[in-house]
């Protein structure tokens, strides 16, 4: 495992074992609820959560870490305890993302650190050990194996991350330090989230009640309600039109249409007649295949393909209302 100094723990506090760290420093959780001198740390931890809930990144204050009690490490650890006590998943999600983005900034800076090669080495080591990504440094750019790149980049929906939009030579993708770190943001987020989620929840600590109640109140703000229109997205409308005209809809189009309607709750019997006009229509085969897709005959219930996939199959005919959706099923869904 990466050998961390105090400087590194400040940057990447999620790499520590919370309970062990506090113990090693000679503290118990209860002290944070009762000792007025430690109240500042709990306040900091609470602020750290509030900042993350607003989508901002907690700002580091290097001077606060020079004391015998590195405040930022403690505030992270206590924030995790407060979040666990609140049990509010939405806040944990926001917190892990913000912490991931904070760590990302440090990782990027360390990768580019020309003065101190050990910093670059350590950040490369973190990438290797946490995310199994082997990054090689070549002059100003970094390269990673295409196969490693793809495992991470498929999490992004922005087109700039598509392999076609990358410099690819000899089995490697070239990236800037910023892109290298950005590539693992989701995994970093997931790593922090999993770590928080898998840590045990302590009994309520006397002195933490008010903070925890406030967090529970705060979480209510993020409850989302949505409404959905009944209109079909243009890709689905197009597929239906093709079939109505008796033209041949490719297999991928039939798959998209059937899974879309099944996912929207229609039954196999309701969907089957749509394929009546297909040049190769066979009622038995249609019912068999729809049953397969719906999961009634097999074990898998197939999902409607993503917009990206639909696009790659030349079945996408976007309209402005398609902006910002990543699956045809989301078409017409609005937050209220």
């Amino acid at each position: 495992m990466v050998n961390l100094g105090n400087d590194e723990i400040v940057k990447y506090p999620f790499l520590t074992e919370a309970g062990k760290y506090l113990n090693d420093k000679g503290f118990s959780l209860e002290q944070f609820g009762s000792d007025p001198d430690l109240k500042k740390i709990v306040d900091n931890a609470f602020d750290r959560i509030i900042t993350s809930s607003e989508g901002r990144i907690f700002k580091s204050d290097p001077s606060s870490n020079n004391s015998a009690l590195p405040l930022e490490i403690f505030s992270f650890l206590i924030a995790v305890i407060l979040l666990k006590l609140s049990g509010m998943n939405t806040l944990i999600r926001r917190f892990s993302l913000a912490e991931a983005r904070r760590a990302e900034k440090f990782l990027e800076k360390d990768l580019m650190n020309h003065q101190d090669a050990t910093k670059t080495k350590l950040s490369l080591q973190i990438l290797q050990e946490l995310f199994s990504v082997t990054v090689e440094k070549t002059d100003e750019t970094f390269t990673i194996l295409v196969s490693d790149y793809l495992k991470h980049s498929i999490n992004f929906h922005e087109r700039e991350w598509k392999l076609i939009n990358r410099r690819v030579t000899n089995g490697k993708v070239h990236l800037t330090p910023h892109e290298t770190v950005r590539l693992v943001r989701k995994e970093l987020d997931r790593h922090i989230y999993t770590k928080i989620n898998s840590s045990s929840t302590p009994e309520m600590i006397s002195g933490f009640e008010t903070y925890v109640d406030k967090l529970k109140q705060l979480a209510k703000k993020f409850e989302v309600k949505t409404v959905e229109s009944k209109e079909f997205p243009p890709c689905i409308k197009h597929a239906i039109e093709v079939l109505e005209k008796g033209e041949n809809l490719p297999h991928s189009g039939r798959f998209m249409l059937a899974t879309f309607l099944l996912n929207k709750g229609q039954t196999v019997e309701q969907i089957a007649p749509l394929f009546k006009n297909a040049p190769d229509y066979n009622p038995k085969v249609t019912i068999y295949q729809l049953n397969q897709l719906s999961g009634t005959s097999g074990t898998t219930e197939y999902k409607c393909p993503s917009c990206e996939k639909v696009k790659s199959q030349d079945l996408c005919f976007p309209v402005p209302a398609c902006d910002n959706i990543i699956n045809p099923l989301q078409f017409g869904r609005k937050r209220v």
């Binding site: 194996l145 295409v146 196969s147 793809l150 495992k151 980049s153 498929i154 087109r159 700039e160 598509k162 392999l163 076609i164 939009n165 990358r166 410099r167 690819v168 030579t169 000899n170 089995g171 490697k172 008796g246 297999h251 991928s252 040049p279 190769d280 097999g298 074990t299 898998t300 990206e308 996939k309 696009k311 790659s312 199959q313």
Partner: protein, 373 residues
């Protein structure tokens, strides 16, 4: 297909397999592969496990299949249902098929079959017999089609080696047995990647989803010197050659691109998909649970064999992949255009009883344009 035709084809295929067991092998790791086969007029039998060449040969003799398949994927339990197979990895495979390359059907090599009245005729927009527009197309031997698929295979190989870092010596090319090629990339780092990642690889190869920024075109402060250069590697270099043609054209054309603006360049990039993107079938590459025609087996769409291609340039599928014997047999043929096999010309046959070598008879029967008498 009528029972008499089925018997003739089954017996012919069986004879071929019996005489050419040397062409048919299970892969190196047979107990991790899923096998499958189809019978004439029958459905697909999948989730079969075979442990040796002997078991494969026995399956061929006992079942007289029309088509035989083997997964590119390796599983812990290949004979269990898909969700229980426990996928381990899969060879990366590309399929280049003449049907995906052509903008229109080659007039001299295509027949139409009417879905309403079953009439077979020369290429037309509707059925000359009943005027129906519900048609299926039957392509017969076409040297130009094979030539263009070969060119595409060569371009694909270049990208696999130069961009994706695949060792050229490991790439294996197979004729598909009909009108295309399967390109296998065994033992590469890509074996472990899933379907979504493979979709990205196919988009890369097909030049799909590119944005102007990738080729140095910025929305603001655009400078023509940032556009691709001839000696750039990857798609930048290939695009430069396509865009500018010669180095001396670069300044003029660069200026036109800059003046045309971002949206126009984006449009151009989309159009280039057709001209410089490699025309692989993306669904084949993305599907990590597919079973592929087994090398050495006959393709029942043509009666030709899927075989390993040693020298792509010299390879002639209509000679090198045609293994059926030349015993003369009588068939009722309805083939209103000419085709060529084993360097011999056949047809046109207008609904007539003809005596032809068995390989030509089988070819026509597989194409649905002849019946045994």
């Amino acid at each position: 297909m009528n029972a008499k035709d089925v018997t003739l084809l089954e017996d012919t295929f069986k004879k071929f397999y019996f005489e050419h067991f040397d062409l048919l092998h299970v892969p190196e790791d047979p107990n991790q592969r899923e096998f499958g086969y189809q019978k004439f007029n029958g459905g697909m039998n999948r989730h079969i496990s075979l442990k040796s060449d002997k078991e494969l040969h026995l399956l061929l003799m006992q079942n007289k299949p029309s088509d035989v398949y083997c997964s590119n994927a390796r599983y812990m339990f290949p004979n269990l249902p898909m969700s229980e197979k426990d996928w381990q990895n899969a060879e990366l495979i590309f399929d280049i098929d003449a049907k995906d390359l052509r903008k229109e059907h080659p007039k001299d090599n295509t027949l139409i079959k009417c879905s309403d009245c079953n009439e077979i005729s020369q290429l037309n927009t509707s059925c000359p017999n009943c005027q129906s527009s519900k048609l299926s197309f039957i392509t017969l031997t076409c040297n130009d089609c094979i030539k263009s698929t070969k060119d595409e295979v060569i371009k694909l190989n270049q990208i696999l080696v130069d961009d994706l870092g695949i060792n050229e010596e490991t790439i294996k090319i197979f004729f598909s047995g009909n009108e295309g090629f399967h390109i296998y990339v065994p033992n590469s780092e890509y074996e472990n990647v899933g379907s979504k990642e493979r979709a990205e690889i196919s988009d890369y190869i097909m030049f799909r989803g590119s944005i102007p920024e990738t080729f140095g075109f910025r929305k603001f402060n655009m400078n023509k010197s940032s556009l691709p250069k001839f000696d750039d590697d990857g798609w930048n270099g290939r695009l430069a050659k396509h865009l500018f043609g010669t180095k001396s054209n670069r300044p003029k054309i660069s200026q036109e691109i800059v003046s045309g603006g971002y949206a126009l360049f984006q449009k151009k990039l989309e159009d280039f998909r057709d001209s410089i993107g490699i025309k692989i079938d993306p669904n084949v590459t993305q599907d990590i649970h597919r079973i592929f025609r087994l090398p050495g087996s006959i393709n029942s769409k043509s009666g030709l064999t899927k075989i390993f291609v040693e020298d792509l340039k010299k390879f002639d599928p209509y000679v090198d992949a045609c293994f059926i014997d030349d015993e003369e047999i009588e068939v009722a043929a309805n083939c209103p255009i000419e085709f060529s096999l084993k360097k011999k010309k056949f047809g046109p046959f207008n609904n007539e009883q003809v005596s032809v070598p068995k390989f030509a008879a089988v070819y026509m029967m597989c194409k649905g344009i002849a019946s045994s008498v």
